[in-house]
Amino acid sequence: MTKKQLQRLDLIFKNEHDIEEILTKTFSKSNEEIINDLISSGLKGRGGAGFPTGLKWKLASEEETDSKYIICNADEGEPGTFKDREILSRVPHKVLAGMAVCARLIGARQGYIYLRGEYVFLRPQLLEVINEFHQLLDKIGLDFRVEIFLGSGAYICGEESALFESMEGKRGEPRNKPPFPTQQGYKSKPTVINNVETLAHTYSIFKYGADKFKDLGVQDSRGSKVFSVSGDTPIPGIYELEFGMSLQKFVDDFADGDAKAVQVGGASGFCVPRKKFEKTVIGYQGKLRGTSLPTGGSMMIFNSSRSMYNVLHNYLDFFVEESCGQCTPCRVGTQQLLLGIEAVKKGDQPSSYLDKLMELAEAMRITAKCGLGQSVANSFSSIVENFKEEMIY
């Protein structure tokens, strides 16, 4: 019997070089038409938060001011995620096309690609593509320029408002929201900030139409998604799959036959144990403990030889270092969680102490200022709940 494999898609990475044609075609449409296309396609932000892209562009287009910005967020720092690097190295022109359409629609003349410092080796080839793209823009008469802004090794700068702070020459500390970026973003001007993959998808929508995109996926999760698969798998790498698959199907296709858990959405995502593979669906609708699944696309597979204590310890170590230190719940909370699980493991604290730590994690979810501090509880609680014995013994 042959198992039916998950359908592999080839939308994003298909090498298409008809940017000029697509841009001319799209620019012949009115702004309302473009926004309607995007909204009806159901495209949501692919960085993980899942905000509807069409709505974001619409909000920014309605602001009245002298200057606006479009920023491509390529500060991909989530452990287990590497799709943006792959997209930027293989199909950067699609991302630029998406930025150009957005620029014309909202009225921006300047765009930036915020490239994480770890990816600086991509800069020379990206600059070449950007130069070619500028020539194309001159030809079709769009007054718009794209620059690369380099990050310097701070995970938190992937948070949009921390990213603006960083570009403004400050510590990458998240701002209070509201105001939202579409109102006051970079230099306090209305700013659209989209993930690399989101922008690449807009190109597919402009080319193939909203309906074709909407045909893929389920319910509120439309289109395809690029997944970064790593960990205990014989075939690590980048895969474009349709939304709505069950985690069991994913594991059948990608794991080594001995998977005991899958971390969905990176260190800030959820850890799903084997017994829940069947019930878990990947998509914005995938309900896990009442919250929708983060969908940055990181899928890390752990087999039964892995200690989940070591996994959690590694995550917490990561968060302790990457917490910006601005708000107390996150700065102190991450450190206490790390000390706490070490104390339980050593036997300095009773196993019931884990419940106290879970309370702390939940308090961080409510009180931390930004997504980083709030999402520590995702991985912490899902690992401690499902692998309690590994935390203690």
């Binding site: 452990p79 770890e118 310097s152 090794g153 701070a154 510590r171 960990g231 995550y315």
Partner: protein, 159 residues
């Protein structure tokens, strides 16, 4: 004019003197000098007309903006989960042996500094490391030794 003063002025000419130029200027200093000295920070503050404390606060926030002197080649080995699962510790051990330093130290000749860093975005090809800007992936102890030899050869040819 001192060398660092000249460097900061050149960078400010290139990137501009608004506060938005702070990160590019600091990155430029690191590329040239491997670290941002106190003198350099004071110069940057003067050029951009902002406080030295602001420059210091910003520089120390970012892990790639070193404020302590480092070697000519900074080796950053990824320590995040999948690289750890695929043998990051062996890679560090091998590097420590080849370079004769401990993690966090710089070789006596000032050529190599061995550090750990968070996720490099090479999880499907772990273990991974960066040497300055260049990524090296799917590392094995043998491969690591070859890479270091290559850098040492390069240094010999330069001198």
């Amino acid at each position: 004019m001192t060398e660092v003063k000249q460097l900061v002025q050149d960078l400010a000419d290139q990137f501009g003197r608004s506060q938005e130029s702070l990160l590019p200027i600091l990155q430029g200093i690191v590329t040239k000098e491997q670290h941002i000295s106190e003198d350099a920070m004071i110069e940057v503050a003067r050029e951009l007309n902002i406080s030295a404390a602001h420059v210091y606060g910003t520089a120390t926030f970012y892990s790639f903006l070193n404020t302590k002197p480092l070697g000519k080649y900074v080796i950053r080995v990824c320590k995040t989960i999948t690289c750890m699962m695929h043998g990051k510790n062996q890679i560090i051990k091998e590097l420590e042996a080849v370079l004769k330093v401990n993690l966090g130290e710089t070789t006596h000749d000032g050529k190599f500094t061995l550090l750990e860093t968070n996720c490099l975005g090479q999880c499907h090809k772990g273990p991974a490391m960066l040497i300055n800007d260049t990524p090296y992936t799917e590392l094995t102890p043998d491969k690591v030794r070859e890479i270091i030899m290559m850098y040492r050869d390069k240094e010999l040819r330069v001198n």
